[in-house]
Symmetry: C2
DNA sequence: CGATGTGTTGACCGGGTTCAAACAATGTGG
DNA sequence: CCACATTGTTTGAACCCGGTCAACACATCG
């Protein structure tokens, strides 16, 4: 149906209001998608807790999964033991696409807190797609979004300094929450510094230092109870920080 | 149909022969896929030359493309001017998946040499998929493979040293050629050191130094006519180099 | 309480960047 | 044909960002 996720912009609208509308739309899209799925497919629901594995690299592929609640991390582990967090998945995101071509999953999918995943046989989805084009649309858009997201990761990995990468990560995280209708001014990271560092291609000490600097610059703020809780008064300030750190000198590039 | 790209292994087979069989299979799969596509869909063929853009970030999405010959690079450009090469596409690879969800392409796709792309309306493919499940299978496997490949990139970006990344890149490039039935002992890189560096998240000088070291270690060899031509007598030696550089000290980890 | 896991901060070091110079390959125009 | 410009590659030297190692703070939990 070629439905677009973000409709044509309204340039005369203030940026903040625009962002809010986008998030509303995203939230709506996700809710609709989950609704469509449970209408059209036999679904296996499963409640999971922190540390539970939805699937592991090497497991025979047969099912795709959709996050109904909770947050999940995807870990790509090489044969030689290297482990790399390659992505995080929130409500409405799909899990397991990498298994389709290979016939087996290529990564581990691990729950980071209590949540619920919906699973269904890929075969069943495949057949249902022929009957219900909207289902096919859903699937393709989800895969497309995943590809785009991975490329964003590559971009920030290759072009940003460590501090900027951390800022960009927090922006991404807050954005992801906002798109699910959750508050972002006060978020609880369910990751250790080591996990963040792994994802961002840096060491935990560097993450810690970067966050301290962000706090010193008032871009973020630590909650009084624990350094895992981060207050982000203004998400746009994180983007601004990233931009600022792109131009070391005050380049007046107009 | 849940067809798997790489069938069950035959463990008693020598690794080299196994690799050769895998490449044969891949080559066959690609040829079959192209065949299926032109059978089932109205295709727009287009010959392109080095530098030609198949599409640009921001262009309205409407078509998907498949590489029939030549090599293409995908460039993700941020609003602030950062440009990042996020992937290379060879014969049989698809272009444009990132446009499905957003309604517009998110990257540029640029030809690196003379080649041919097959394009078709996403809408037409979408409708044909309902009739021809094998078409849908093709599409999903291609998207799945793309996601897996991006994650491989993330893994090597985050876990490998500069030298190892260059070695791994050459291995990937040779492997990609081998899977298309092309020779790998003597390849001509159609990229500058700067482009390789951009893709690998390092500067061109670092690429140059890394390649000099690889040549000094006899893992690769420069052709007499120009440093763009690289001879790879043994692709496995590149993998071995990567593994070697993982363990700085001689860790006898059994 | 000690034990364990996590986060912060400092001091030092090294791999990769930056800056610079020289060289190679290719093309252009006289 | 050579002089010259252009673009890409190589290599050296100095510098710096982020890694490494270490000490300490601060939770939670048995």
């Amino acid at each position: 149906m070629l439905t677009t996720a973000t409709a044509a912009r309204a340039p005369q609208m203030p940026a903040a209001a625009q962002g809010w509308r986008d998030n509303q739309q995203a939230s709506r899209r996700i809710a609709d998608a989950l609704h469509t799925l449970q209408d059209k497919l036999p679904i296996q629901r499963r409640v999971v807790h922190a540390g539970d594995k939805i699937y592991q690299a090497g497991d025979a592929f047969g099912c795709l999964h959709v996050v109904h609640s909770g947050i999940f991390k995807i870990i790509n582990s090489a044969a030689d033991g290297r482990e790399q967090v390659v992505g995080f998945h929130f409500k409405g995101d799909w899990l397991g696409f990498d298994g389709i071509a290979a016939g087996q999953y290529g990564c581990d999918a691990v729950a980071m807190d209590t949540g619920e995943v919906w699973s269904f046989r890929y075969q069943a989805l495949f057949e249902a797609c022929a009957q219900h084009p909207e289902l096919l649309s859903l699937l393709h858009e989800a895969m497309s979004r995943e590809i785009s997201r991975d490329r964003e990761s590559l971009l920030s990995l290759c072009t940003l300094s460590a501090d900027a990468r951390v800022a960009d990560f927090l922006r991404y995280w807050a954005e992801s929450l906002a798109q699910r209708g959750l508050r972002t001014d006060q978020i609880t990271l369910r990751l250790t510094r080591a996990e963040i560092g792994n994802y961002l291609g840096m060491k935990l000490e560097t993450v810690s230092r970067a966050m301290s600097r962000l706090a010193r610059d008032k871009v973020i703020q630590f909650s009084e109870r624990g350094r895992r809780d981060v207050q982000i008064p203004d998400v746009a300030a994180l983007s601004a920080f990233v931009q600022r750190s792109l131009t070391p000198a005050g380049e007046t590039l107009q």
